[in-house]
Structures are given as C-alpha cells and as structure tokens.
C-alpha cells in the first residue's frame, strides 16, 4: 500500500510520484508472482495447508500454475530423488526468465533426514538448480512459508533490471 499512500500526497493535480521505472517494475513483479508448485513429499502436505483457509498463501499475490512456462518461481517442496532430479532440471529450464527458486524443507535444502544413508536422495536441490530462498524445517511451519515468501519478495524488489551487466561488473 506504500505507493497508494504516496499518491494521496496533497499535490495539485494529484498523483505525482517520483521514482525509478525500475522500482515500479520491481514493485509490480514482487507482488504478483506465479509459481510452479512442485509437491514432492511431506512438505507438500504442509504447503497444501498453507494454501487453505487458515493461512491463505494467495494473499501474497501468488497463483499456482501447473505449467512451468507461466511461472515466475518454482517451489521445490520435498525430497528430491535422483530419478526426479532431471525432471526438475528440465522444468526449471523451461521457465521463462526472470525465474526464482524456493527450496522448502530440509530435504530439498540438504537431503534432510536422508542425507547420510539415502542412496537415492539428492543432497540438496541446489546441486542442480540455483536456489534463491531456503526455508528450513521438516516440515516447515506455514509461518515459515510466509517468511520465505516475504524474503523472495524483498529480493525481487531490490533487483536490477536495466544495465544488469554493467552493475554486476562494477560490483565485481
């Protein structure tokens, strides 16, 4: 609501905002992220609860999509096995830029309870795709999902859109 409050400022003619186009675009982008839900295991059940009445994930402006081509970010919720890993990679590559990844639960963060003897479990989804936000827990509480989503939003709202390469080079 920050922007609307600014618009209420008592300038004559009303509604003048000074700011960067980048900020405006990022504001829009961060408040309407569509996600590809990738429910894999137990964490997905908690994510279902997150989507339901008590927690209402959609108030973040997120809409579940079933096609990677319509998604802005992918939620990997659960244990990633070797058999599943190449699917995730393909799906991630099908998504259009800019794209983000939230890794939910210990399993997709690092292998979770299966890190030691799980011969068929990938020890962290970040071994195959880059992860932006990690949500810890086994399974994470819905409140943790909320925080993870807020972290992603703040990350998106600070990102550079124009002259990306120049800025990156200056940073390096």
């Amino acid at each position: 609501m920050g922007l609307l409050n600014k618009l209420d400022d008592p300038y004559e003619g009303g509604g003048i905002v000074l700011g960067k186009v980048e900020d405006l675009l990022n504001w829009g982008r961060s408040k309407s992220d569509w996600y590809l839900h990738f429910g894999l295991a137990c964490c997905a059940i908690e994510f279902m609860a997150m989507n339901a009445s008590h927690f209402d994930f959609m108030r973040f402006g997120t809409i579940p999509r079933t096609s990677p081509r319509q998604a802005d970010f992918i939620m990997v919720t659960g244990t990633v096995t070797f058999k599943m890993a190449d699917r995730i990679k393909v799906l991630y590559e099908q998504m259009a830029e800019p794209k983000y990844v939230i890794s939910v639960g210990s399993c997709s963060n690092c292998g979770g309870p299966y890190w030691e003897h799980g011969y068929h479990v990938l020890k962290g989804v970040d071994r195959i795709i880059p992860v932006d936000v990690y949500i810890p827990g086994c399974p994470p509480r819905p409140e943790a999902f909320e925080e993870g989503m807020m972290l992603l939003q703040s990350k998106i709202s600070k990102q550079a859109i124009f002259n990306k390469r120049k800025k990156l080079e200056a940073e390096l």
Partner: protein, 383 residues
C-alpha cells in the same frame, strides 16, 4: 451403468489410432510424484501402467543403519498424512517382540490420537477427491477443521505433521490439561462440517454424476488384489482389522464398519469409496467420545522399558488398520539395538495396483477421479 455401456458401444465401433501419453510425475492430480503411462483411444483409456520410484527414499536401508528408536521418524515419513497411525504398528510389533505390556492409559491416548489422525487423513482424502472432481469449497472447509486437529496433535507432540510421539512401551509425553475438552470440541466440529459437506459435495447432483458408476471395483477383484481400507470396504467387503483382529483396546468400543452400498450407482464405484471415508470419520468420532469417557487420568504414560531397546532374537509381524488400509511391519531382530531387516507392507502400494484394472474403458478425466478415490500417498508406495 448406461453411460458406461454407451462408451463401450462407441468404443467398439470407432477405431482410431491409440496414443500413449504421460501423466506425471509432475502433475497436480497425481497426488504426489506418481507417473502413469496411459494409452488412450481418443478420450477413452485403454491401458494404464504406473511407474514408481520417484520418491524412493531408501527406507529399508535407513532401518538397517538406525537403532530402533531412531527408525521412528522414518516410519512417520512413510504415510506422512497419518503419521500417528504409522507409528502404532511399529511400536506394537516391538512390544510384542519384547513382551511389554503398556499401561491402560497409554492405550487410550493412542486410540484417541490415532482416530484423530484418521479423521485428518480422511479429510484430506475427501477434500482432494473433491478437488479432482472440480469442487474447491469442501477443500477449504476440511482444511479449516484439519487445522484444529493438528493443533491438538501439536500440543501433544510438538509437531504439526510428523510427530515421532509413540515410544516403545509408552508415549513421549503425557496429555496436557484440557485435552479431553479439546477432543470433544473437535468431534462436534467434525460432525458439523460433515453435515455441511454432505449437502455441498457428497449428495451434490453434479458430483454424483461425475463419480457414481465410475471406476467400479468388484469385491472379488478387490480381494484378489489384496486391497484394504476404504478401497476394500467401498466394494462392500466388511473387513476392518479393528473389528476382525482387534489389537490394543479396540474391542472395548462400539462402532460400525461402513461399507459401500451402491447408494447412487454400483457397489464399488468412486462415490462409494468416498462415502465410506466420510462415514468412517463419524465412526472415529464415536470411538473418540467413548475413549474419552473411559480414559483414566492417573498413571504413567510409559511402561518400564530399558533405555536401550534391544529386542531378543526373533521375527515379528504386526499390522494395524491405517486410514489407507492395512499397514504391517515385519521386523527381524538379531539381538542388537538395530533391526536386521524391517519390511513395511504399505496399503497404498497394494491399493495402487488395482488402477490398471479398474480404469480401463473410462474417459481420461475419470482416470484422475479414480486415482483420487484410491487415496494413495507416494511416500508409502515408493518407501
């Protein structure tokens, strides 16, 4: 039956090229990471081949490497929707092997928690079945109530979904003050929502059109495939381990076994299986009420058990009625504190095997519905 016949007739007259399509492993309606290879003739399913292994999490390997109490979290993660029920046959098997008698209070608490978890499981099952049929509102209703149940389970065990609460010879903690009132309130709430859902979903004419006469599982087929749980009972077979082979203290309670009667279609269709789940919630409510009334409040919640669980050499098999069907654990002990072998017999895996049998000849959209009515959980299928 008329619709089905019409489809059969059309199917025999029109010959078109068969097409193989892939459902899953990433598909919103496969209830996890199941992959179905489907052969369709136009819109009609002619063959279904399930492919498993996308969630194989090396359960038996972990059991070999962990001590008996350490295995418990992995047992939770088999059927992660009803973790309390999963833990029960495992601890019962160990208690049988070690010859431990648990205090009466423990049995009552176990019954109450397992039945609460059964309600939570059936709520998810019916809700997602509604989703598959295109009804979104019951999903919200059921998840609202499920949250109240999870609050109780969380207060008892500290976790919302995977509890790790049962122990060999007892429980991790005693009940909290106000437990009985909470349970009775839940029972009231569950009944209220079920009455609402009856109008909203179960007897909704669109829903009946969609799910009656679809996916008919004949009783003989169900028995031959060793189905259990609501899938078997939906076909009209009265078989429930809580009655037929009463473990723990189930013989003290008065409850019925709901079976499919073919009220709106043929016995054993998707609607029947779904209805059995709704009726089972009511029966669970009855059990909870009786258990609360009989439950002693004094006493310990743990039998005298050595700190280090070392069952004697031997084998044991114990099974219990899970919300999804029979869940059995076969433990081979070699006298050390780690199991030599631990095999789980998951109901979902067995129930899933009827999918190719019962989905032939129906429309492709019905396949999703049939899968939803079986109510599988992939953690138990792939293990």
């Amino acid at each position: 039956m008329s619709d089905k016949k019409r489809l059969d007739l059309e199917y025999s007259q029109i010959e078109s090229d068969k097409m193989r399509i892939n459902v899953g492993p990433q598909h919103p309606s496969t209830h996890g990471v199941l992959r179905l290879e489907v052969e369709v003739d136009g819109e009609i399913v002619t063959e279904v081949i399930p492919h498993l292994g996308y969630l194989h999490r090396s359960f038996e390997k972990h059991c070999e490497k962990m001590t008996y109490p350490q295995v418990m979290p992995y047992i939770d993660r088999l059927d992660y929707i009803s973790a309390m029920n999963n833990e029960w046959p495992y601890v019962m098997a160990l208690e049988k092997l070690m010859d431990i008698k648990v205090p009466e209070k423990v049995d009552y608490i176990r019954v109450i928690l397992a039945e609460l978890n059964r309600i939570a499981n059936h709520q998810i099952a019916v809700a997602t079945f509604g989703l598959d049929a295109g009804a979104f509102t019951p999903f919200l209703f059921f998840f609202r109530d499920r949250e109240y149940i999870l609050w109780i389970l969380e207060k008892m065990s500290g976790a919302r979904l995977l509890y790790n609460y049962f122990r060999v010879g007892g429980l991790a903690a005693d009940v909290y003050p106000g437990f009985k009132e909470d349970c009775l309130n839940i029972v009231k709430q569950v009944r209220k929502t079920n009455a609402e859902v009856m109008d909203l979903l179960i007897y909704n004419s669109i829903f009946i059109k969609r799910s009656a006469n679809v996916g008919i599982l004949r009783p003989d087929v169900a028995i031959n495939f060793a189905c259990s749980g609501p899938v078997l009972r939906g076909s009209g077979v009265k078989y429930d381990l809580r009655k037929d082979e009463p473990y723990s203290i189930y013989d003290r309670f008065d409850f019925d076994i709901p079976v499919g009667k073919g009220e709106v279609g043929v016995v054993g269709d998707c609607w029947d299986r779904n209805m059995v789940r709704v009726q089972e919630m009511e029966q669970s409510c009855r059990i909870i009420e009786q258990a609360i009334a009989q439950m002693p409040m004094e006493g310990d919640v743990s039998a005298l058990v050595p700190k280090r669980i070392k069952p004697p050499k031997g084998e044991v098999y114990m099974r219990a009625e899970n919300p999804k069907g029979d869940l059995g654990f076969y433990i081979v002990s070699n006298g050390t504190d780690k199991p030599e072998r631990l095999k789980a017999r998951g109901a979902s895996f067995v129930n899933l095997s009827v999918i190719p049998e019962i989905s032939k000849g129906y429309m492709f959209a019905d396949l999703i519905l049939i899968l939803g009515s079986i109510d599988i959980v992939l953690g138990e299928v792939d293990r």
